[in-house]
Amino acid sequence: MDPLAKAFIQARHSGSEPFDKTGPEKSEFPFSEPDPALIEWLKGKLHQPPPQPVALAPKLQTRSLDFYYGKKQALKNINIEFPEKRITALIGPSGCGKTTLLRCFNRMHDLYPGIIYSGEILLLPDNRNILDSTVDPIELRMRISMVFQKPNPFPKSIYENVAYGLRLRGITNRKTLDAKVEEALRGAALWEEVKDRLKDGAYNLSGGQQQRLCIARAMAVAPEIVLFDEPTSALDPTATARIEELIMQIKDKVTVIIVTHNMQQAARISDFTGFMYLGELVEFDTTERIFHNPSNNLTEKYISGQFG
């Protein structure tokens, strides 16, 4: 298992800060009896900061998050931390609130009347509660991109789709736009297919290509987090595989949160998994543990296909 991921979860379980104070577990020591030379070495180390791998920092954190559609409570006391530059999957049966939770993070719910948030969602490292009334959701959405369930390119050219976010951010220089559009399309593994027809309508692309275009559009603006809302549910297996590959590639650059109805997908691509049921976060752990050794009975039943 990825030692960083393990450390992140351990820190979370012990309630301490996840940034530091992590160390190797006892069982990982390669000896059973203390070696005098080692003790000397350790003494020397005491005067230095302990050698640490660069620990996983959380990028987004919720604290007792509740969410209501009118009177109906859709999320109950959600506490979760999303580690930076890792893929975290949210799984659970339909109606468990995973998409609702995802759409809290860019305050997409604000577009519709009658919704209530309570609790906190902290965007790190700023440590700012994005539900605060002083936070402008427009500004928030400049930092957090989203890819939707159904490919939804604008009925404009391929180029304009990718350039749109850049234009919104005030970039008008043609050369800069060209370069960034190309970079984003390359990043989305679409450049080779569309480089000769950038002026063509985005609707001429296949469904899988459209979804990769949407990923390019989301990535072109160099977001800190990308939210994926069941991005492959409308695609065939080949297109799905390409999108999954792509998501695994972009995690070097961004924090990824992906909602999926497809458990195997979560197992294949994510580093961490949260299992939700009836508006609650039942279990959150490394993907390996969720799928091989879940601590909650309900998680195990869901993973093994006994319901859902």
Partner: protein, 302 residues
């Protein structure tokens, strides 16, 4: 088995009977229009020539023409479009995208639906009091254009809202998720994507306005006009003039109505010719609307 056969045959007969009735009903509408068109052509077509299009009305039927009428129709339609399009589109965008659902917006929506059904002569009465007397616009092109603009405003609003509503929610969400404001979403996406639908609605509204007579008669357009409004382009600085807005006018349907009320048969020929031109203009506008809608549907399919 035979029972079923009999039973089925009876039910099939019902189908056939309705088919015949249906065709007959469709033909009533179609035939009426074609007979009307044929009759107008029969009587009026030979009267349409260069002289007819470039002459003012006259006491003598054969010397009379529709120059002032078609210029009047054109200028009034221009004022109507300039006034009704921005107002109607803005109201439609507000109601569809900005207004939160409340009892107030419900009432406004109900009223807009009702306004579309108000008899046009009532708009004429309103215009007479408001534009002609209150605002002192007189019996002018401006008054007429604004009157017809108010008349078609509900149609433009409804057309705008319908075509905005046909844009899927996920397109709006895509724009918002990129960090667009509401205004940017409207200007960059919603208006361009609904432009075809709005244009179709506007053209159909204008083709209704072009034939309107009653409200213009009410504001006093039923007069003998043997001159053109002053030119909008002048030889002296600032080279544009809005004097034409204040000019008295006549329009095609009023000219037609005027001629039909004359006893002489020759004037009736003039009326038929004018009617033909009016129908052709209306059909042409509707054709343009259909073409626009067809092309938009081919280009953008959600």
């Amino acid at each position: 088995m035979t029972d079923f056969k009999k039973f089925t045959a009876r039910r099939r007969r019902e189908d056939r009977i309705f088919k015949v009735i249906g065709i007959a009903c469709t033909l009533v509408g179609l035939l009426t229009l074609s007979v009307l068109l044929a009759d107008l052509c029969w009587v009026g077509l030979k009267r349409i020539d260069w002289q007819f299009l470039t002459s003012f009305p006259s006491r003598f039927a054969e010397r009379a023409g529709i120059l002032s009428a078609w210029v009047g129709t054109l200028t009034v339609m221009f004022v109507t479009a300039v006034a009704a399009i921005p107002l109607g589109v803005a109201a439609g965008v507000y109601l569809e995208e900005y207004a939160r659902k409340s009892w107030l917006t419900e009432i406004i929506e109900l009223n807009i639906a009702n306004l579309a059904g108000v008899p046009s002569i009532v708009y004429g009465l309103m215009a007479l009091g408001l534009f002609v007397y209150q605002f002192q616009f007189g019996r002018s092109i401006l008054s007429a254009g604004l009157t017809l603009a108010v008349l078609i405003l509900p149609i433009v609003i409804v057309a705008t809202r319908e075509s905005l509503r046909s844009i899927p929610i996920i397109i709006r969400e895509a724009a918002y998720s990129m960090g667009a404001t509401k205004w940017q979403t409207v200007v960059h996406h919603l208006l361009p994507y609904s432009a075809g639908g709005i244009a179709t609605g506007v053209i159909i509204a204008l083709s209704r306005a072009i034939g309107e007579t009653a409200p213009l008669v009410t504001i006093g357009a039923l007069t003998f006009i043997a001159f053109l409004p002053p030119s909008p382009v002048t030889g002296t600085f600032p080279f544009v003039s809005f004097e034409w807005l204040k000019s008295p006018f006549t329009v095609l349907p009023i000219q037609m109505f005027n001629w039909t009320s004359r006893p002489t048969q020759d004037f009736h020929v003039n009326a038929a010719a004018t009617g033909l031109i009016l129908i052709v203009a209306t059909l042409a506008m509707n054709t343009v609307a259909i073409i626009i809608r067809y092309r938009i549907r081919k280009r953008i399919k959600w």
